[in-house]
Symmetry: C2
Subunit: 168 residues, 2 copies
DNA sequence: GCGATATTGCAACATTGTAGCATTTGCATC
DNA sequence: GATGCAAATGCTACAATGTTGCAATATCGC
């Protein structure tokens, strides 16, 4: 998994009040048990500005020296989604893994940018899928997912030829 | 696999002009060998009005009594995509399989509707993702994928309670 | 019909996710 | 601080979806 390990993430104790709310409190408030993995996962997501995959989360946990099991991680994420603390977005591109991002209280929705080059997914804050579209009769709209594909700033510059764009 | 040559597979002369172009000709024109699986896959896609997954294609092939291998099917589809005869769209929802649809010569793009109930994907012809959006500096747009989630006409009516909407 | 080589078909493996179940842990209570 | 019990964990297995390598086969130009 081409992942340059450890991105900006990590919440140093000093900046604990930067995050929306205390992870432990959020978990406890929902009647869930405050466990190692849940707290860590929630904190990592709070510190991240883009959706993360199981794999990336796992790497972060490992980097932080937090013992965890693959299945437990899946279950912790499932729980967060179930409790409406996070939301699951479909992997776009050839990367068929789920990604997770914190759900904002304001129900804010935004589009995502998928870099076909490095596979990274980035939130496009200012871009709300304006789908007041007229669906054919009978279809019930629940939500719209908009994914923009292309090259991110990092990849855009070093992109040499079309061969570099093999699907990923 | 005793194949009585000149198998005249489908393509009943009468409906030959229904399909965009003869599958065999399309394949040959691109320098590819005209093989059982490629022709059949292309014809099935031509006859379908919605993107199909490997699985669905495989079922169609089986139904038409066309011997095929799982890997061969994958490769035939890869080839079609490579030759710009088809395009691959990411499975949305929890269904992480690719789906394929014929690429129209006019480069027409449209959005897709994913039924969260039955998992079916349908083309929304009249709906082109209007993403003349202003991407942040540095991002290069290549294409936009718009997926509308909800319930299709078939599922919409019989949808009883919220329990029926478990992710799928 | 023949030969070169593009495709196939098979088996093995990779990735991502789930299910079942015994063991451990968090936490309310004593 | 000790205790009990359900909630979580951490295994191991398994399922779904793809991919890779390679020998056997079928296409197609001659």
């Amino acid at each position: 998994m081409t992942q340059p390990e450890a991105r900006q993430t990590h919440t140093a104790p000093a900046e604990a009040h930067d995050v929306p709310a205390d992870a432990r409190a959020l978990i406890a408030a929902r009647g869930g048990r405050v466990t190692r993995t849940r707290v860590a996962v929630l904190e990592i997501l709070q510190a991240s500005d883009r959706p993360m995959s199981h794999d990336e989360l796992g790497a972060e946990l490992a980097a932080a020296d937090i013992a965890h099991d693959r299945v437990t991680l899946y279950r912790a994420l499932d729980w967060l989604v179930e409790q409406a603390l996070a939301r699951r977005i479909a992997g776009s591109g050839s990367d068929r893994a789920w990604r997770f991002e914190l759900l904002r209280a304001d129900g804010h929705r935004h589009a995502h940018f998928h870099c076909d080059c490095c596979g990274q997914v980035i939130c496009l804050e200012g871009l709300e899928p304006a789908v007041a579209v007229a669906l054919p009769a009978g279809f019930q709209l629940e939500r719209a997912e908009l994914v923009i594909h292309g090259a991110c700033p990092d990849c855009g510059v070093q992109r040499a030829g079309p061969a570099a764009r093999r699907r990923r």
